[in-house]
């Protein structure tokens, strides 16, 4: 029946049939995809577990909020940026410290830091900060614990303390806070199981943001009072957008431990600027420790990201921490806040390009320009400070009295706090670029004035000299004999400008 002729005429028919079938299959696949996309557009939120005000474990919250939980867990990732971020370095675990991965040691990258903090626990161990996932372990196992008995106050920001505090205070977090501050750190470690978790920032029933840390509640109340607003209650009066910065400000701030009860206090009663914080510390005569080389009543600035952001153009424009560090991401048709809190430089499209319509490379360059300039100014101020510390030490060794050195020591305290305010702040100037460079300029100025004051008793510094008692050690003084401050930093000679000093020897080049 079948002739070769028939076969030839059927071939195109078969090919056409196969093509038509493939088109039909592709059409069906597209139909299914469109249907899925339409499904996505319906907001889905399935509650599979009941959350209470005592649910600490983030994995339980994660059952109701899987997208947020997935990204929250990514804070274990370690990735460098030009000036920040952290590198994962291998380490041999031992009995004292079971960590097998740590981040780079900052005091080895720039040994001038050891001189700046001589006699203080940070001169022993100060690694680059890692993601939220590591906050509890890195504080538990730092060598700082071995030179200073750290108080329970530290736990405020290194663990999920909301529920433990509530238990200690029988339902009253302020009471629990007061009890916890006075416990030894090692004791609080036994009642805290997690790094920061969902319940530290969210209400379990409404998911609304809320502040749980008494330090911030009291600090902001004092700051608002300085502006004429009495009895400010952050959880009742703050706007939703303000809360998107305030929950971060619970920890990313400057603080000190007040009195024998070690109360965690944010020094904001005069304002949030470095000068106002300095004035506050001067007024109450507070010092963190007595500088080992120079005898100055020194202060350590801690990560004042919240204060610095407040001075910048982003805060001025109403942009909160979460807008750049936890930008929205689309999952299906829903927008979810990214709980992988990290540097915006690692996430430029979502962090910056929602507002800034420039390409990624351009935006990155803008940030690096600010950071390069800040880092340069920081190195100049650091050289000036090394010069002053060396001068005071030499003058002390050659027999100058405490009275004769008082002005120089106060200027060191001031220079050092200003410099550290930028150094310890985790944006290398970006959060408020002009303010950062202004502060560093002031720091260098105070240090150089201090060098003049060492030599010339008639010299009148540009700021009044405040007497701070140095007879007793500060609350965070490292135990004697544990100080490895024999740093190779060369104090710059007075009169030798930063240009003549040798910053190459002591200045680490930032890694890319």
């Amino acid at each position: 029946m079948t002739s070769p002729n028939d076969n030839r005429s059927r071939k195109p028919l078969i090919v056409a049939a196969v093509v038509a079938l493939l088109v039909a299959v592709a059409g069906a696949a597209l139909l299914a995809n469109i249907s899925e996309r339409k499904q996505e557009a319906r907001v889905q939120n399935v509650r599979v577990v009941e959350l209470t005000d005592d649910t600490v474990d983030p994995a339980v919250w994660g059952k109701n909020f899987p997208f947020e939980y997935d990204t929250y867990r990514k804070t274990v990732d370690q990735q460098r940026t030009k000036y920040g971020g952290s590198e994962a370095l291998p380490r041999t675990p031992d009995d004292a410290d079971p960590r097998s991965i740590v981040s780079q040691e900052k005091i080895e990258e720039d040994p001038r830091l050891k001189t700046m903090w001589a006699g203080y626990a940070f001169s022993v161990d100060f690694r680059e900060e890692r993601g939220h996932a590591y906050m509890l372990d890195d504080q538990t196992f730092t060598k700082r614990q071995t030179v200073v008995k750290q108080p329970g106050t530290c736990m405020q920001c290194h663990g999920s303390v909301y529920v433990p505090m509530k238990k200690l205070g029988n339902g009253d977090i302020i009471k629990g806070f007061e009890v916890m501050n006075q416990m030894p750190y090692s004791e609080t470690r036994k009642i805290v199981d997690h790094p920061v978790t969902c319940i530290d920032c969210h209400d379990s029933q409404t998911l609304a943001l809320r502040v749980t840390r008494p330090g911030f509640i009291e600090g902001l109340r004092a700051f608002k009072a300085s502006q004429g607003v009495q009895n400010y209650d952050v959880n009742k009066q703050a706007t939703r957008q303000e809360m998107r910065a305030y929950v971060c400000g619970q920890c990313h701030v400057e603080y000190y431990f007040k009195g024998p009860e070690k109360r965690l206090v944010f020094p904001w009663a005069k304002g949030l600027k470095v000068d106002e914080i300095m004035a506050y510390y001067d007024e109450i005569g507070f010092k963190d420790w007595v500088h080992k080389d120079s005898g100055a009543p020194a202060l350590k600035a801690q990560h004042p990201e919240f204060e610095m952001w407040n001075q910048g153009v982003h805060a001025r424009s109403g942009v909160s921490c979460a807008d750049c560090h936890m930008p929205y991401q689309r999952i299906g048709a829903t927008k979810v806040s990214d709980h992988w809190v990290r540097s915006p430089l690692l996430n430029i499209n979502r962090a910056c390009q929602g507002c800034h319509k420039w390409n990624e490379e351009e935006l990155k360059q803008r940030v690096h320009t600010i950071q390069d300039r800040t880092y340069e100014a920081r190195n100049r101020a650091m050289d000036a400070l090394m010069g002053l510390i060396g001068d005071i030490k030499a003058a002390k060794d050659s027999g100058k009295s405490d009275d004769q050195l008082e002005a120089a020591r106060y200027l060191q305290r001031r220079a050092q706090f200003f410099l550290d305010f930028v150094e310890a702040e985790n944006s290398t100037g970006f959060h408020a670029d002009q303010e950062a460079v202004r502060i560093l300029g002031d720091a260098a100025n105070y240090a150089r004035q201090g060098q003049i004051a060492v030599r010339d008793p008639s010299f009148k510094p540009s700021v009044p000299i405040v007497k701070i008692a140095t007879a007793t050690p500060g609350p965070m003084q490292a135990a004697p004999g544990t100080n490895p401050s024999q740093a190779p930093a060369t104090p710059a000679a007075p009169g030798s400008g930063p240009g003549q000093s040798t910053p190459q020897q002591v200045t680490p080049s930032p890694k890319k």
């Binding site: 038509a20 039909a24 139909l31 390409n359």
Partner: protein
């Protein structure tokens, strides 16, 4: 009349299937809406919802719809741009590989610039006209939507 051969029957069935499924998909996805000018058609893909929402709050929503700025005035070019953009958008949306903050391609940016000049010719014709020399939306970035 001879009975149709097997391949011919298969072909007819396959074509019928393709046309049927294709036609249904087109109707289900409201494909015909894309041929018109209704801004709601753009938000049939939920990616565009935020742009539609902010357009409704913008100064231009009383005067211009999506197509007035994003497609050329010339009818032939308009449908060429609609077809190219439609292809790009639907492949990206189907595959899901697009960034959260989507950005205009160079050719799309040029269309917008042309359209600014098209409607506002009275005001801007005496100013610099070259698309590469001056950009309207660099300063007037939020008149259409955020």
């Amino acid at each position: 009349m001879p009975a149709p051969s097997l391949p011919a029957v298969t072909l007819a069935a396959a074509i019928g299937l393709a046309v049927g499924i294709g036609g249904y998909t087109f109707v289900y996805a409201k494909g015909s809406a894309y041929l018109g000018n209704d801004p709601n058609a753009c938000a049939q893909c939920h990616v565009m919802q935020v742009y539609l929402d902010s357009w409704q709050n913008s100064s231009h929503h009383i005067a211009a719809t999506c197509n007035d700025c994003h497609t050329p005035a010339n009818p032939l070019r308009k449908y060429i741009v609609k077809a190219t953009n439609g292809f790009h958008h639907s492949t990206a949306f189907t595959a899901g590989n697009y960034p959260t903050n989507i950005r205009a391609r160079e050719s799309s940016r040029r269309v917008v610039e042309e359209q600014c000049r098209h409607c506002h010719a009275d005001v801007v014709q005496s100013m610099v006209g070259d698309l590469d020399e001056a950009s309207c939306v660099r300063c007037h970035a939020t008149v259409g939507h955020l």
